[in-house]
Amino acid sequence: MIRRKWSPREIALGAAFLAALVGLLTFYVWYQTEAVHLGIDTGQREAEIKALHDDILKLELKKTALLTPGRVEKIARADLGLVDPKTGEIIYKDKTVSR
């Protein structure tokens, strides 16, 4: 049995085909890996954004807790020495009532 000799053109075509196949596979693998990495990155960023939103919410609630009337009154009276005004010391803006 005698093997037929490959022509240079056939060898070149085969090599090109093989190279294209390897290139395509490499691109596919790279694309898939990159997509997963991007997905992981996006997930991490989204988690960070959520954590920041949660922090904002928490800080807003902390601010509300710090401004609770009982605490403000305690600071006003005990730390700053403020007292209730006497009747004649109050300046009324007008006679309208706002709630």
Binding site: M1, A35, V36, H37, G39, I40, G43, E46, A51, D54, L57, K58, E60, L61, K62, T64, A65, T68, P69, G70, E73, P85, K86, T87, G88, E89, I90, I91, Y92, K93, D94, K95, T96, V97, S98, R99
Partner: protein, 585 residues
Amino acid sequence: MRTFHEGDIRKRTLVVSFFLTAWFAVLLVRLVELQVVDHAGLKARALKQSQAKITVRARRGDILDRNGTVLASSLPVYTVKLSPVEKETPAQETGKVRRLQAVLGLSEKNVADVLKSLKENDSFTFVKKQVSPELAARVRDLRLPGVGFDEESRRYYPHGSLAAHVLGGVNADESVQAGVESRYNDVLKGTDGQRITLKDNKKRNYQDQVTKPPVPGRDIVLTIHATIQYIAERALARAVEEHSATSGTVIVLDPATGDILALANYPDYDVNDYTESKSAWLDRAIGYTYEPGSTFKIVAASAALEKGLVGYNELFDCSAGFIKVGPLIISDHERMGVLTFARVLIDSSNVGTVKFAARLAAADFYAMIRRFGFGGKTGIDLPAEEAGRIRPVAQWNKVVSQPHIAIGYEVGVTPLQILRAMNVFAAGGRLVRPRVVRKSTNFHGSPVQGPPPDETVLAEGLAAELTSRVFEKVVEDGTAKLGRLDEFWMAGKTGTAQRLDPVLKAYTTKSHTASFVGFVPSRRPVLSLIVVLDDPKEGFYYGGQVCAPIFRDIARQVLRYLGVAPERAPAGGVITADLQKKGTP
């Protein structure tokens, strides 16, 4: 040199081909087994490993006061759980749990429970619930295999006990129990969503897909004013302590709209520790009935005047200090002599009240009681409201009941019912429906149905006349003198009722319910207010002695806070912005 013949080559080719074919056959069989026979099970296993269906909890709506101050909000928290890891030795498991213990502060019992669960190969076990995001991040940084997290949320009340009975409270899993949290749960809770997460071999999420977006709960704006609520709670707590009372209630109402500006009960509780505060859960303002005593005289007086059975200057002899009604002796707190009808109410004479109430037909009296809203719920948008106890006329004792009811016994009312009834005089004869939620919308964004229109109980003129001729004088020189405000005209009625001794099944002179209900300024009302104290001691127990001064203190502070200019010039005079500008050089 050995030469290969065609036959040798063919033989070797056949051998190689046979082994290759056998190898492929084995592969094919395995492939069929994996792809066809075990397909469903393996696919499910693969999806379980790479995909997770996660419930996205809808954020519960906030509860705000009428000015937008947050009274209740939800913050995210995590539940840390642990699943067994294949080929992990007991020593490795113990080491892992000890590392979790160090971060999460687990007790030895928790550690033992978790290790026991791992040993029994449970699919997972909860390590700790309600873990803050910071702590959860620290656990995540440990990168321990088998550790997972469930995101949940925790209700947080930044003002602690403020408006506790209005807000109610929730359990750890945000299942609702009381107050606005319960009544408006459908509006607040929202609808949970779902997402699918794809994970890589290191269990990192690389793709999230929301399959059903969560619908967050809607916010609710209350009629409660946080500062007025604080003023009421502080005054109530001081009064309960000062008079060694067992409990108390203060309600502040906007007379025109029925908006509850403050609703305070003592004892109260920190809403953040709702489940630990069972003894203080009762909302006495709406869920507790009592015999009101003299504050109920407003009903008999209104009925008698409307029917034209009595005049303001008509005289009643109260000089004996008592009156015998069948087997009952009804007495005054002191002998009062001969009093006009107005004075009977101003000085709160039981004898005089029994005498003018005797002129009323029982059916007319009962009708007026019902018109004032007693014996039925006020319709306030809070759960667990009591309707009170008003027996129909057919069940009345023919001799005793009418005089007894006229002075506020044999009936069960809530503090809110009494306040609402007194508010009829502040609202020009209208019976308003109290409410605690100012604004809310349902899931479709349309407003929750509002209350029905107010009912008219009395003619406006009659209400105004009773106010100016009787209820103002109760404060100016009657039983509530101690509650007088220098700057404003006030109107009100005191009440002091003996309490029923549950052992003796008789009224006792040793225990009382003291109350004062009224509105201020009486001629253009801004606030209606009731103060009730149960079993005050320390020598004082009359409503005028105990509750009227609390009313005065709350009213003074709230009116100042709201910037209501005084009606009467106090000793120091009144300064307005206009005057100040003119007076400044």
